[in-house]
Symmetry: C2
Subunit: 221 residues, 2 copies
């Protein structure tokens, strides 16, 4: 039986939609009453695990599931030993540097040396400022990173931005983009190579289902 | 003005109650409509920040707030550079080792060498198994640690247990307790030493408010 780890949170709804598109129904995870973290689709083809986004690559890496859906940002932050099969083209967001709009900083190099930068993505943040040769102090936070500059604890943050609403509401502005992120299909490398249960076929179907529709004139021509 | 970081989640309600007991009303944080992460109490005596439990010691360590309320488990895991002022006697739970009840393991030393142990508290877990001289592989997870043994990814978990309901519902049993945890009052060491805004007085009041009531016969005698 095929197994797949699905991420709780912002990517869940689209992850379930794309699975439905290839005949795997895990919509029970969307039921608010649901407390199960592991379900089998009604056709008995596949098993899905519902886990925190950051844990998806862990279950894949340890071979506990063959496939997983997770944001590129998580892959960048954790560098897990998994095969990155496809861009699923949903869940767009970007990892950005932001500062108070009232601050004098308009690009990362305006920040003073040894500035404090609060972030949940400490590895991404460190790698980025190292590449600029700007020594900064990274403050690791678990939530509400925007409080860093608001309280004055940090000059800047590195955080995921999708609509930008949270930044605006907190008087912050984006001054640089580290990278853009979308949902990715990942696989356990060895499972994928040996391809039990027709893993390749399902992975290909998921990839095709996620591809942007061709221009209208082309369809059916 | 005095400043205090309060933890989101399981300890919030009691943290707010103990602040109310000493005249600081932050109950606006309990309003479900509330989106503010920073409020000042109606008397203008103190400012409170609402942050993730794991972030409380960060805000205290960087001097962004003078006081904080946080579980002892977080202090054990992160070893922050803060002054541990008092045990507030609420939020009791314990950090435990648990395994599947159907497994043959009834104490940690029954686990095979190089067993896999899933945990959110990787430092606590590593320190504990090192002290037993039992080499294990710690698998860091962010949520739903109980899925480790259920899916077969790990032989054991190290996790916080309060009522034990989650363990029972998932067919797991506790086989050892690493340590017990309750809420603690912490302070920025230098702020506390210099005691602006009568910080000592507030800290003492919070400590006294949290002390278990004396036996009935003693009161008023």
């Amino acid at each position: 039986m095929i197994s797949i780890a699905l991420p709780k949170g912002a990517l869940l709804k689209d992850s379930i939609a794309i699975c439905q598109h290839v005949g795997l129904d895990f919509s029970a995870f969307l039921d608010k009453q649901n407390r199960q973290l592991q379900i089998i689709d009604p056709t008995g083809t596949a098993r899905a695990l519902l886990v925190r986004a950051q844990d998806v690559p862990v279950y894949v890496e340890y071979g506990q599931v063959q496939l997983g859906i997770v944001g590129y940002d998580v892959l960048r932050e954790k560098s897990p030993d998994v095969a990155n099969l496809a861009d699923l083209h949903f869940g767009y967001c970007r990892m950005s540097v932001a500062v108070r709009s009232s601050s004098p900083y308009r690009q990362p190099l305006d920040l003073p040396p040894h500035a404090r930068v609060a972030s949940k993505a400490v590895n991404c943040a460190r790698e980025y400022f190292d590449s600029l040769d700007l020594p900064v102090e990274i403050i690791p936070l678990y939530g509400s990173v925007e409080l860093g500059p608001i309280t004055g604890m940090s000059e800047a943050i590195v955080d995921l931005v999708s609509t930008g609403r949270t930044l605006r509401e907190n008087g912050l502005i984006e001054i640089a983009v580290l990278f853009e992120s979308t949902a990715r299909l990942i696989a356990h490398p060895l499972s994928y190579r040996l391809s039990p249960d027709n893993l390749h076929a399902i992975a290909t179907q998921l990839r095709l289902a996620s591809e942007p529709a061709p221009p209208a004139g082309v369809v059916g021509s």
